[in-house]
């Protein structure tokens, strides 16, 4: 939804990293570490994406759903709010909020198709009930700004809007939803960080362009480092580790 980001609830609700990294006491009791916490959220982001590909919704819906899910876990425990139900429900809610409604029964159908595991099995009524709890947890703030919008504007402005750069940066932005960046940084800075990484990879000189933007390059570089760190550690995120983390709940 377009409006002024700076006056939005999204902007006002941006969090500090340490608030995002707080493992809920209830989960901590069960032995969930910060690492587990991050792993589960990443896994659920992937779950949302997989489900979204089945029901065919836009990337924007996925991004909004993941953001909802991550926001929920800054306030609620995974013990009380089973991620395996929260994830599809966030997609359900986001599909409404982003005007690409997906029927609950369709989601239930594809959940069963994707995961044979009984722990993922939820029915329509579970989703509807969780929807209400999520709405409350989100305090009914449903508007989310994403880096995609500013991304294309920036690329054009920088003269980098060729297919290769567009695809690379777009993919990078997609990957940022496997992290909590969207809860911490304004979306346009995330977009700039992705462009920064892409331009280094593709050996494009963007120094002058970034100077003219008058943004704090330290912030951009920090976000970029976070993204690169994530890529670095990504190969260690094995299914076994994810399952072990989920098992603690």
């Amino acid at each position: 939804m377009a409006a002024n980001f700076w006056t939005s609830s999204h902007y006002k609700h941006l969090l500090d990293q340490e608030d995002v990294d707080m493992v809920n006491p209830l989960d901590k009791e069960k032995g969930v570490t910060l690492e587990d916490f991050k792993l589960i959220k990443m896994h659920m982001s992937n779950y949302i994406l997989k489900l979204a590909q089945q029901v065919k919704v836009r990337q924007r819906v996925v991004a909004t759903a993941v953001t909802y899910m991550r926001r929920v876990y800054t306030r609620k425990s995974m013990t009380d709010y089973d991620p395996r139900l929260v994830a599809p429900t966030c997609l359900y809610l986001a599909s409404k909020a982003e005007e690409s409604t997906v029927q609950a029964r369709l989601l239930v159908f594809y959940i069963k198709k994707l995961y044979a595991d009984d722990k993922y099995r939820y029915e329509i009524k579970d989703i509807l009930e969780m929807e209400m709890k999520i709405l409350e947890a989100l305090d009914y703030y449903l508007v989310v700004f994403h880096p995609y919008r500013s991304l294309s504007g920036f690329l054009q402005d920088a003269g980098l809007n060729d297919l290769s750069m567009t695809q690379l940066t777009w993919g990078l932005v997609n990957d940022t939803y496997k992290m909590d960046l969207i809860l911490v940084h304004p979306p346009h800075l995330i977009a700039l960080a992705c462009i920064y990484i892409a331009s280094v990879l593709r050996e494009k000189d963007t120094t002058v362009w970034y100077e003219e933007l008058r943004v704090d390059m330290n912030v951009i570089k920090n976000i970029s480092m976070e993204i690169l760190d994530f890529y670095e550690s990504n190969r260690m995120f094995t299914d076994e580790r994810i399952n072990a983390a989920l098992h603690k709940l």
């Binding site: 939804m1 909020a97 609950a104 409350e136 508007v143």
Partner: protein, 518 residues
């Protein structure tokens, strides 16, 4: 403080996040009703603050939280403007509803979610329908300017309201006007590539492009509705009271002329053009029909009621119109008189009651029920009210004394939201026109036989027996609006009533008794 019943969670005690319980409020009175849900005036127990509670109806929702409510919440949470209603919070009802038909089991949220709004004393329709109510020119300008300011803000924030009408314009006793009921609102992108539904906006205020089936549209749809309201304020009653879509279009064409490729390039490509295209040539007669309006008002109205949405004036430009910058200037909202609370829901209820009384009185052969003791302008007001009411009554009649007039601002008939809205299809409007209290005459004669001598033009608004086929619903005078002036005074414009003319009001002469003359 309200405590949750034993065995139930006390939502109030849950930590900062999450919603409070509706038990934090004490319901005082129902002020609105619609398919969307009821609206109550309520008092926050802790602070004593008066608020409006709009219930989100959750039953019959197989798809969980209604998307209409999601849209409304999403939009209201991002709009912060003095001319847009403020959503204060959302509260839930802990446990099963006590005041409902009681559904003990099932989803605990079923039927138990309320939006909490700031309370507003009136809505524009309710206020205008008050017996004897007359707005002054500066007052109309003041309301219109606030309406346009609020709408401009929405449009800048890429929100289409899609249900602008009098009962959705709330007015407080400080004279502030706020847009309310964003249940049909949607965000739009400037790319205009989204297909939107054309089944929006209450029929009487629906623009021609939607009636012709367009699904790609923009802020201009709201501006048409504003034009309808503007004309209604000046004219004293709704200007396009169609009872179904074809009649609606016909009424529009009769006043605004038939669309063609000259005045509306591309109109022939609209989905339903061939189905609804006028069968005879119709000239634009808006200037003629409303020639008695103030020059600047007419100029602005012309630009609002422009058939081609691309040429219709945007809110921003309307605010720059001469109308708002020439004497008499819009007044300061705070200078407006304070009125006892009036919502369309309530005024309807009152009128219903009054009608009931009058029916009774008639049965007792009392020839002059209370309305007759009023001065002419008030009498007209009464009549006006019935005109407006006509169609709705047919349903309410069947609901007997339930007094559930739909269509209050916060919640109103959503059902056929795009459909005829509060004016059900097929409801024979004539019922309203011949109402017994209209001077004690019994039914039959249409309103031509009111206290004023018939103008010999037939009933302009298709009273009973006049089919609303294209081309000829209007009897004698030929082309409906052709009779121009004489057509209208019969309807009794309440604001521009005859006697006791106020300021610019030309009283007395009935052939010029509508609206504001200068």
């Amino acid at each position: 403080m309200a405590m949750a019943a034993p065995g139930q969670l006390n939502v109030i005690e849950s930590p900062s996040r999450g919603s409070r319980s509706v038990d934090c409020f004490e319901k005082l009175e129902q002020i609105g009703e619609g398919t969307y849900g009821q609206v109550y005036m309520a008092r926050e127990i802790e602070t004593g603050e008066i608020v409006a509670l709009k219930k989100i109806r959750m039953d019959n929702e197989r798809e969980g939280f209604p998307i209409t409510a999601i849209r409304e919440i999403k939009i209201l949470k991002k709009l912060h403007h003095e001319n847009v209603i403020k959503l204060k919070e959302i509260v839930t009802s802990p446990g099963p509803e006590k005041d409902d038909q009681g559904r003990p089991d099932g989803n605990k949220y079923k039927g138990g979610i309320y939006m909490v709004f700031e309370y507003m004393d009136h809505d524009l329709t309710g206020l205008a329908d008050r017996p004897g109510m007359r707005f002054t020119v500066p007052q109309i300008k003041c309301y219109m300017r606030q309406l346009l300011t609020g709408l401009h803000y929405c449009h800048v924030n890429q929100v289409l309201h899609r249900d602008i009408k009098g009962s959705n314009l709330l007015i407080d006793n400080e004279g502030n006007l706020k847009l309310a009921d964003f249940g049909l609102a949607r965000s739009f992108s400037n790319e205009h590539n989204a297909n939107l539904t054309n089944r929006v906006i209450t029929l009487w205020y629906r623009p021609p492009e939607l009636l012709l089936g367009t699904t790609r549209y923009g802020p201009a749809v709201d501006m048409w509705s504003v034009g309808c309201i503007f004309a209604e304020l000046l004219h004293g009653k709704p200007i396009f009271p169609g009872k179904d879509e074809p009649e609606q279009l016909n009424k529009i064409f009769e006043l605004c002329g038939a669309p063609d490729e000259v005045n509306w390039p591309g109109v022939q490509k609209t989905p339903w053009y061939n189905q609804f295209k006028p069968t005879r040539p119709m000239k634009r007669r808006l200037r003629d029909v409303f020639r008695h309006f103030d020059r600047h008002a007419l100029e602005l109205l012309e630009k609002m009621l422009t058939l081609d949405p691309a040429q219709r004036i945007p809110a921003k430009d309307a605010l720059d119109a001469e109308y708002f910058w020439t004497d008499p200037l819009p007044c300061d909202p705070k200078s407006l008189p304070k009125y006892e609370s009036s919502h369309e829901f309530q005024t309807k209820k009152k009128r219903q009651q009054q009608r009931q009384n009058e029916e009774n009185a008639k049965r007792l052969k009392m020839q002059h029920p209370q309305q007759h003791t009023r001065l002419p302008p008030i009498q007209q007001g009464g009549q006006h009210a019935q005109m407006r009411q006509g169609p709705s009554h047919s349903i309410h009649g069947s609901q007997a004394a339930v007094a559930a007039g739909p269509s209050h601002h916060y919640g109103k008939p959503r059902g056929p939201s795009g459909g005829p809205g509060r004016y059900p299809p097929g409801g024979n409007p004539s019922g309203g026109y011949n109402h017994p209290n209209r001077g004690g005459q019994t039914g039959g004669a249409g309103y031509g036989s009111g206290p004023y001598p018939p103008q010999g033009r037939g009933a302009p608004y298709g009273s009973s027996g006049m089919p609303a086929g294209p081309g000829g619903p209007r009897g004698g005078g030929g082309s409906g609006y052709g009779v121009g002036a004489p057509n209208y005074p019969q309807g009794g414009p309440p604001y521009g009533g005859s006697a006791a003319g106020r300021g610019s009001n030309m009283g007395g002469n009935r052939n010029q008794q509508y609206g504001w003359q200068q």
